[in-house]
């Protein structure tokens, strides 16, 4: 994946800092593992690993399409509600005696439809993804509440709950982790080895230039948001299966963790760079961190503070480092400030004027 980003950004030196960011992650991860091991003798056991990874799988699965969306310069805040809607709808359909396979297909289709709504408003309507998905964050959750109300449905067949709760026979690897790995490999190939991936990077770097180069910006974005809706629905189904309970308030607050994982994985919040392997690494790092905090009997409140700080730091550190680096280079070369010393978010403001009419 370094090959792709290198060829795309020879000047910015962003690849090198990205590589260093990933090294930093590995070092942090090793540190956490040592720390965890010191905290509890059970930390390095296979059973504990299965537990710590299983608890984060819905987040991890939703982080994969989110990675592509953030690389394309957008964001999807609605994933947690899309997952909640999927859970509520699945519960409602099961309650209404719809066979489970058909119910799952319907739920996945509704997820993709929700993503289509996001995508059309953002790509065709030229609206900022932040506000559109904030709106659908409320809308999908509201629909979930309307569909299922305040009740919980929990009489699912064992064959279904085994998917979220069970392990691959003979191992301690949970099934959701297998689903995550398969999705990660597929999306990594698409992003780093195909023209679709190159188009996504091009859109994130400069969507106007991408359009004039023949990239179908709107179509790619609609596709990305549909994928995000579909996979959020899948995450909702897995969550329902793992907890063997369908609820309208399922997955509440999960978007924060999803975005944290993506940005911690070295994806640039302003779009244009980032990689799936980085995000996979971040998933493992966050899982290990949460597990270590739990073993150290740190309360849930403090964990939420830690997660918020992690999110902010994973943007502050790379941006500050980048700015410091370009300032040093400027002083050394005695050159005027380069255009990229202005953060790209301030340069490239999405406005209706830029959109095709």
């Amino acid at each position: 994946m370094t090959a792709v980003t290198t060829s795309a950004t020879p000047r910015f030196g962003w690849t090198r800092s990205l590589a260093r960011w990933e090294t930093l992650l590995v070092v942090a991860l090793l540190g956490l593992i040592v720390l965890g091991n010191a905290l509890s003798p059970f930390f390095l056991t296979a059973g504990n690993f299965a537990n710590l990874i299983a608890a984060l799988m819905e987040v991890a699965i939703m982080a994969l399409p989110m990675t592509l969306i953030v690389i394309a310069g957008e964001i999807d805040l609605s994933v947690e509600s899309a997952a909640g809607l999927a859970s509520a709808l699945l519960g409602f359909l099961w309650m209404s005696h719809v066979p489970l396979p058909i119910a799952i297909l319907i739920v996945l289709a509704v997820g993709a439809l929700g993503g289509l709504l996001n995508g059309l408003l953002i790509a065709r309507g030229g609206l900022p993804s932040l506000v559109v998905t904030l709106g659908t964050l409320a809308l999908f959750r509201g629909l979930a509440l309307i569909v299922l109300g305040p009740i919980g449905v929990s009489d699912f067949p064992e064959a279904f709950t085994a998917v979220g709760f069970g392990h691959v026979p003979g191992t301690v690897i949970p099934w959701p982790f297998v689903i995550f790995l398969v999705l990660a490999v597929v999306l990594a190939v698409v992003l780093h080895r195909t023209w679709i991936g190159r188009h996504i990077y091009a859109i994130g770097k400069n969507s106007g230039a991408a359009r004039y180069s023949g990239v179908r910006v709107a179509r790619v974005k609609v596709g990305l948001f549909m994928l995000s809706g579909l996979i959020a629905a899948l995450a909702g189904i897995i969550l329902t299966s793992r907890l063997s309970s369908a609820r309208a308030d399922a997955a509440q607050g999960m978007t924060l963790t999803v975005v944290t994982v993506v940005l911690l994985g070295g994806v640039n919040i302003f779009g244009g760079s980032g990689s799936i392997p980085g995000v996979v690494l971040a998933v493992i790092a966050v899982a290990v961190m949460q597990n270590a905090l739990r073993l150290a009997s740190v309360t849930v409140e403090v964990q939420s503070i830690a997660l918020g700080l992690l999110l902010i730091l994973s943007v502050v550190i790379p941006t500050s480092a980048h700015r410091a680096k370009s300032a040093i280079e400027r002083v050394r070369g005695g050159r005027p400030p380069p255009p990229d010393s202005v953060p790209r978010g301030e340069q490239r403001i999405p406005s209706v004027e830029e959109e095709p009419s």
Partner: protein, 333 residues
């Protein structure tokens, strides 16, 4: 007259129409609901609606200011929650007298707003990421200090919650506070240098920077003011609800953003008024109050907030696009 000022005036005119339109919708909606449920149009119910809406409105004023600068603050609900709990618990333990507690609450809100302002304006973290992070951090701190403790209504000093229930010449105190804040804010936005800078930064950050407008200071000030107003909303929350625990105002951010957006504060920045944001809050309060009266469950509320945000944003985009098309046509391009 240049094209820019002309289009600015046209945008202003459209914004004013938006407020008028919202008023018309409010009246029509009120009439329709009254036909089905006559108890809607009673002084008692209307004043209850407007008092409740005032809490959202005060927070929405700050949110509107932030949105005017092309940013967003998702952490307001956590600020409201943490201020509400801290104010209630310091009153319960008699640490502060009522006036000191109120000032302390607003000051705490200001401090949290400053944290956001530093992150966004000076550390250049995009507002969405910064405030999503501080939402989690502030709420975590709130849970941490509150634990499972709950301040009951009886724990508050006698008369502290009276402002939520009293009125001046028939106008509820909360509504009066909101109107005064809207008036002050409108004067600041219209007639001071800072106000013009807010609109300039929001409508075209690059042009504003070239003109030498200190955009970072403007954005910082907007976030700080938003925090202080959220602090005030937190104090009002205590007066309104009396019983406070660590979960106060959870999920309120959607109503607050929806109020600002439906009130005509353009999400692309640079246009909108505080009066619009306050009217937006009143509109959402009406809807929330009318739902059970016409036999719909409260579960519809969240979906309605979402639909309202989407509709308002889509309307803004349509207006902007049409405006730009007519501008290019007139200038002969």
């Amino acid at each position: 007259m240049t094209a820019a000022t002309r289009s600015g005036q046209r945008l202003g005119a459209i914004a004013r129409q938006r407020e008028l339109g919202l008023l018309v919708i409010l009246v029509v909606l009120g009439a329709a609901v009254t036909l089905r449920a006559p108890q809607f149009l009673t002084i008692a119910n209307l004043s209850q609606v407007s008092v409740l809406a005032s809490v959202t409105a005060v927070a929405a004023l700050g949110e509107a200011l932030v949105i005017l600068t092309r940013n967003v603050d998702l952490s307001v609900e956590a600020t409201i929650g943490i201020v509400a709990y801290v104010v209630a618990v310091t009153l319960e333990s008699h640490t502060f007298s009522a006036p000191v507690a109120i000032l302390f609450g607003i000051g705490l809100g200001l401090l949290l707003g400053i944290v956001n302002g530093v992150l966004v304006a000076f550390l250049r973290v995009p507002s969405i990421v910064a405030t999503l992070g501080t939402l989690s951090v502030f709420r975590g701190i709130d849970y941490f200090i509150a634990g499972s403790h709950q301040v009951p209504l009886a724990g508050l000093p006698e008369g502290f919650t009276d402002p939520a229930r009293s009125d001046v010449f028939g106008v509820p105190v909360f509504v009066l506070v909101t109107v005064i804040l809207v008036a002050i804010g409108t004067v600041i936005l219209r007639s001071t240098r800072f106000g013009r800078q807010v609109y300039a930064v929001g409508s075209n950050p690059e042009a504003a920077a070239i003109l030498g407008i200190p955009s970072r200071r403007v954005v910082f000030t907007a976030f700080a003011a938003c925090g202080a107003l959220a602090g005030l909303a937190g104090v009002m929350w205590v007066m309104e609800f009396g019983t406070i625990n660590g979960t106060a105002a959870t999920g309120a951010v959607l109503a607050i953003v929806a109020a600002a957006v439906v009130g005509g504060v353009n999400i692309f920045g640079g246009s909108g008024t505080l009066a619009g944001a306050a009217l937006g809050a009143l509109f959402l309060g009406f809807v929330a109050n009318a739902l059970p009266l016409i036999g719909l469950s409260q579960f519809y509320l969240q979906a309605i907030y979402g639909a309202v945000i989407l509709a308002a944003v889509a309307a803004d985009a349509l207006i902007l696009r049409r405006l730009q098309r007519s501008r290019t046509r007139r200038s002969g391009r």
